[in-house]
Each structure stands twice: as C-alpha cells, then as structure tokens.
C-alpha cells in the first residue's frame, strides 16, 4: 500500500487536551540536557516574567505526538509505520509553553509529495491554550519509504 494522495488538505479532529505538569517539564529538560534554571526552578522562571517553569523549545513534540498517532492510524492513509523516517521538524512559537498550560493540538496534512518510490508527508499540528490562543505550531515532514 502506498500513501494516499487524498490525505493532502485533511484536517483531523483535535486530540484530548494535554496538561503541562511542572515535573514533566523538569523531566523532559533533564532528558535534553537543558540546565537553565528557568526550565527547572519556578522562582527563576517567575523572576524572568513567566508564570511557571518554561519548557525547552522541543517539548511541543510531546503534545504533537498524539496527532501524529492519528495520522499513522488513519484507515485510508496508507502510511506504513515501519517505513516512516523523520525527515524535518520545526517549532514556531507565539509564546513559550509553561507548566500549568492546558494545550490542545489539531493536525492538518499540508502537503504530500512523491519522490520516486518514496512519499514525503508534511503534517502541521497547531497547538492552542485553554483560551484558544495560539502557542506553537509543530511541523513534521515524514519520509515514507516505498517498495525498493
């Protein structure tokens, strides 16, 4: 099965809200070697003008993950998980993610390109806060290897 070109333009239902916990931010920070006090210490974060500890720039992938799972599970999508390689990744922030945020992500497939036997799927997850205001857009390009 190959990637369904009709996926292009498809918008998925929002995934369940993700509540950003302070300890999760600290745990993720340790995992990516983020040692800045603003990632770990609420007092340092408040002194810098933030409501609580600030997540590292790539933390949004944790929130995005559920949307990519939707894409891979799409019955008519034709995306074979075992053939997927992560090609590109981007995060574009309107404001940083801080502990206490309740975030909701919505996935749209913005582009499908074929390159020989391979397909490049670009998926954009728009992440908003509890008030509906934009926080970050996480964009992934997945390379789906075709039959050799």
């Amino acid at each position: 099965m190959s990637v369904n070109p009709e996926l292009q333009g498809r918008v998925f239902p929002p995934v369940a809200p993700y509540l950003v916990g302070r300890e999760k931010v600290r745990e993720f920070s340790r995992a990516v070697f983020a040692t800045n006090p603003i990632n770990h210490d609420p007092q340092a974060a408040r002194a810098a003008g933030h409501a609580d500890v600030v997540a590292p720039p790539t933390f949004a992938v944790v929130v995005q993950e559920a949307t990519l799972a939707q894409l891979l599970a799409e019955p008519d999508g034709g995306i074979d998980f075992t053939r997927v390689v992560h090609g590109d990744q981007r995060f574009s922030y309107t404001r940083p993610i801080v502990a206490g945020d309740e975030l909701t992500a919505t996935l749209a497939v913005t582009s499908i390109k074929t390159l020989g036997a391979h397909a490049m799927v670009t998926a954009e997850s728009t992440i908003v806060d509890a008030a509906g205001a934009h926080v970050v857009t996480a964009t992934s390009t997945l390379v789906v290897r075709g039959d050799e």
């Binding site: 745990e27 995992a31 590292p56 590109d88 990744q89 981007r90």
Partner: protein, 140 residues
C-alpha cells in the same frame, strides 16, 4: 545578561558545546518523550531494519543541540522558532557511547524585529547529523 543584537556579526560563533550520550541518555529521553521505538534501545531490532546498531532519537539530538543557544540567550522563551533536517544517524555504542558537538553561529540579523537567526553545526564522528538547523532568537 541578554546579548545585544547590535553587537552581533553574521558568521561569528556565539556558543559551542559537546554532549556525551550513553544508552542511559536514550532510555531517559524515551521515558521523558514517550518515544519507545525499540531502535533506540535494542541492537537486535535496529539491525533487523538495516541499521548498524542503536541510534539516538533524532528529537533528542534536536533537543540538546539548541541548549547552547538557550544558555547564550539566557531564557528558553527567547527561542521563538527552531527547525532541523535529520540527515545522518547518531549511533550510540553500548560501551563508549557517542559525542555530539554543537557550534552555534550568527546566521542572519533581523534588526527591526530584534531577532537573530542562529545556525547550528551539529556533528558526530566528524560528519554533520542535522541539516538546515536554525533557531530564531528574540533579543528584543
């Protein structure tokens, strides 16, 4: 101290760092991120898909590579945009691990917006592992 945009010149190095990864680092990232793909902790699974062994999560390499920029800027919130292309795997040997080197240079200046683009060169075993690795940093 927040870096001053007017003091920066395109091409100058603002930060350098090296990161020693072990298999423990990969297990820690798997737990923190929820990415439990076994190619990041099982050599037998990695070899079964044609890899020479366990490799680091691309998102771990992306995540650590921006940290020297965060520390230079003084606040993770100053990184407003960050993108990479994954070009080569970082193989993490079970006994000796892997060392990832990061050099961060000024790529472009947007003086009106108070934004600097920092370009990252990220290498493992002398070869770059990320392409077009760029972080836009708000210094306003």
């Amino acid at each position: 101290m927040i870096p001053v945009l007017a003091d920066l010149t395109v091409g100058s190095v603002v930060a350098e760092a090296s990161f020693s990864l072990t298999r423990d680092s990969l297990v820690r990232y798997a737990g923190a991120s929820g990415d439990f793909n076994p190619i990041h902790y099982r050599d037998d699974v990695a070899r079964s898909v044609g890899l020479s062994g366990v490799l680091a999560h691309g998102m771990l390499t992306m995540g650590l590579a921006v940290q020297p920029v965060v520390d230079w800027a003084g606040d993770p919130a100053r990184v407003i945009d960050y993108q990479v292309r994954f070009t080569r795997p970082v193989f993490v040997d079970a006994t000796v691990g892997a060392v990832v080197m990061v050099v961060a240079k000024v790529g472009a200046l947007e003086p009106d917006a108070g934004i600097v683009r920092i370009d990252l060169t990220v290498t493992f075993n002398g070869a770059t592992v990320l392409g077009k690795a760029q972080a836009r940093v708000n210094l306003a």
